[in-house]
């Protein structure tokens, strides 16, 4: 099984306040630490497990800056065999269809049985790149996959629907799966793997190297146009419990809960 895993390098904004950058068209990410997108981490693990159980290879592909190479190397340390990092400032990354087109151009001429990527990126939440990539490659797909069984020339995928229900589908290979978090337990990179990863091939490519004309994936090519970004006013319905410090707030919260008959 020759597998490609597409990963994204994203800022961890889960517990932080966000500010816009000076252009108003982007977010100031300078204070954030970046790492592999959560669902992509599960996709890497799934790809490595499939290689361990069925043989084959795992290629990592990512669009990102040079700093993201640490993250790509980490995926190689966990069992990836080689990687492509695509960097080209002309790619209009707000458009998931443009991103899919770029990824497709890096995969389409290579031998490939399976492509996996996270079902959602934590920064833009589009949930679209993997399925668009399948259409670009002209292969079947399943989105939000939480269990994978490799069969002969086929793959059986359990898609996570609402309310805990699973939809089981069978796809002929090659195919694209978008992976949902919780499908497995992503491993930590072993020390030996980290050492080996340094020697593995990591190719850096531009749009020109990919043979993809920029005017197919740049801002002018996109059918969506970002007008502005803004921080939404959280209509805080909540009555905030104020206090000098955490302890005082806790005491007041206890009073509120008791008074409300909630405890």
């Amino acid at each position: 099984m020759k597998t490609f895993v597409a990963i994204k390098y994203v800022p961890d904004t889960s517990e932080a306040e966000i500010n816009l950058d000076s252009t108003g068209m982007g977010v100031d990410t300078s204070r954030f630490s970046f790492d592999i997108n959560e669902a992509d981490n599960y996709a890497v693990e799934e790809a490595v497990q499939i290689k361990e159980n069925h043989g084959g290879s795992v290629s990592v592909v990512s669009i990102g800056p040079q700093d993201s190479e640490v993250t790509i190397r980490m995926a190689l340390a966990k069992g990836g065999d080689n990687a492509i990092r695509i960097e080209d400032s002309r790619i209009f990354e707000h458009d998931p269809l443009a991103v899919a087109k770029v990824l497709a151009s890096s995969i389409k001429d290579q031998e490939c049985d399976l492509v996996m990527t996270g079902c959602m990126a934590n920064d833009d939440g589009n949930m679209s790149v993997g399925v668009a990539l399948a259409e670009e490659l002209g292969v079947p797909h399943a989105a939000m996959v939480k269990q994978v069984e490799v069969l002969d020339g086929k793959v059986r995928a359990h898609r996570e629907l609402e309310g805990g229900l699973m939809e089981v589908v069978e796809l002929t290979l090659p195919a694209v799966l978008t992976i949902q978090t919780g499908i497995n337990e992503p491993r930590y990179a072993p020390i030996k793997g980290i050492r080996q990863a340094k020697k593995k091939e990591l190719k850096v490519m531009s749009l020109d190297d990919l043979g993809l004309p920029a005017d197919q994936v740049d801002e002018s090519a996109s059918k969506i146009k970002l007008n502005q970004m803004y921080i939404p006013e959280v209509e805080a319905k909540a009555e905030f419990i104020e206090g000098e410090d955490a302890e005082e707030k806790a005491v007041k919260l206890a009073e509120v809960l008791k008074k409300g008959g909630l405890v």
């Binding site: 904004t13 889960s14 517990e15 306040e17 966000i18 977010v27 707000h94 269809l97 920064d123 939440g125 949930m127 679209s128 993997g130 399925v131 668009a132 399948a134 670009e136 079947p140 797909h141 399943a142 939000m144 059986r156 359990h158 629907l161 609402e162 309310g163 805990g164 229900l165 699973m166 939809e167 089981v168 589908v169 069978e170 796809l171 949902q180 978090t181 969506i224 146009k225 970002l226 502005q228 970004m229 803004y230 921080i231 939404p232 959280v234 805080a236 319905k237 909540a238 009555e239 905030f240 410090d245 955490a246 302890e247 707030k249 806790a250 919260l253 206890a254 409300g260 909630l262 405890v263």
Partner: protein, 322 residues
């Protein structure tokens, strides 16, 4: 013309709630585009759905075919593609749901449509659509406009709009499927129901919901102690379940359970919309989070902005003292 197509979602004999939300949004938009709202119902022997939907739109376009009994993204894509060619709707709305995101991106690529996901707002400016979606789990909004096109494809956020109150009598047009061939490269096999655990959180009166902010497994005893004081059951966000702190049947949100307790006490949950959709039925929501801008505070009745590892131990102490 300017019609708005709403792709209807149904599963295991039920129409999903997102339909009524999308129909409401569509009815607000359609008049702006001088068009009508058309429910696009793909199914087999679901005349009762068509009848029900006709109360909430101008027309139900019902494609009745045994091949459409269960959702299949590829079959849906072929049928929709053909309907778009034939009817040229201005807007096609698909839920930003497990079915929707399995279908819409491929359709957008195939038809080369302007495509935007997870809309929370859509309006007409000078005859053209302008839409708003969010980044970073609801912390940033982004407004988009579009290249001129005959048809625009949007996925719509779940639970972002009130359901429509059916108040009209639309027509039902039942048609044969434009797609005759079977699809052999993707096959629906079966549905697998979620396992039922020892506690049914949909029936719990008191719930402590935990999230990513709890950080580590070793902090769970603190949460368990808190739950005991409230005689509450523990549940949580996707992050808490993925981290292995809670079993799957304790997950609250669109992909988990919808709960309706007297008290929902959210600890370290920032409030991704998927989670918030699951706690709409809670009577009182209390939240502790470090980030004052966390979306959970838009839903909570009482909020504490602080470090949960300082607030919770003191709260436990206070409650123990009675």
């Amino acid at each position: 013309m300017g019609d708005v197509f709403v792709l209807i979602e149904h599963r295991q004999g039920e129409l999903r709630d997102i339909n009524w939300e999308m129909l409401n949004m569509a009815s607000q938009v359609a008049s702006d585009f001088e068009g009508e709202v058309v429910s696009v119902l793909l199914g087999s022997g679901v005349d009762d759905f068509a009848d029900k939907l006709s109360g909430a739109c101008s027309k139900v376009l019902y494609v009745d075919d045994p091949k459409l009994e269960n959702f299949n993204a590829d079959m849906y894509q072929k049928v929709l593609s053909s309907l778009i060619d034939e009817h040229k709707p201005t807007i096609v709305m698909v839920g930003h749901t497990a079915s929707g995101v399995d279908l819409a991106p491929a359709l957008a690529v195939e038809k080369d449509l302007p495509y935007l996901t997870d809309l929370i707002e859509l309006r007409n400016e000078g005859g053209k659509p302008v839409a708003v979606r969010q980044y970073y789990q609801g912390k940033v909004n982004a407004e988009f406009s579009f290249a001129d096109a005959d048809t625009y494809l949007f996925t719509i956020r779940e639970a972002a709009f009130e359901p429509i109150e059916p108040a009209q009598k639309g027509s039902v047009e039942k048609v044969e499927s434009p797609v005759k061939e079977e699809i052999d490269y993707r096959k629906f096999v079966e549905y697998v129901e979620a396992e039922i655990g020892e506690v049914d959180i949909t029936q719990s009166d008191m719930l402590i919901g935990i999230g990513r902010g709890v950080k580590e497994d070793k902090n769970m005893p603190m949460m368990e102690e808190l739950a005991q004081l409230f005689s509450a059951d523990l549940c949580g966000s996707r992050a808490a379940v993925d981290s292995g702190w809670l079993p799957h049947d304790r997950q609250v949100g669109t992909s988990g359970k919808s709960v309706k307790p007297k008290l929902y006490f959210a600890v370290g949950i920032s409030g991704a919309f998927q989670h918030l959709a699951g706690i709409k039925g809670a009577k009182t929501i209390v939240a502790i989070n470090k980030d004052a801008n966390a979306p959970i505070f838009a839903e909570a009745d009482y909020g504490v902005v602080d470090d949960l590892f300082k607030v919770v131990p003191k709260l436990v102490e206070e409650l123990k003292e009675g």
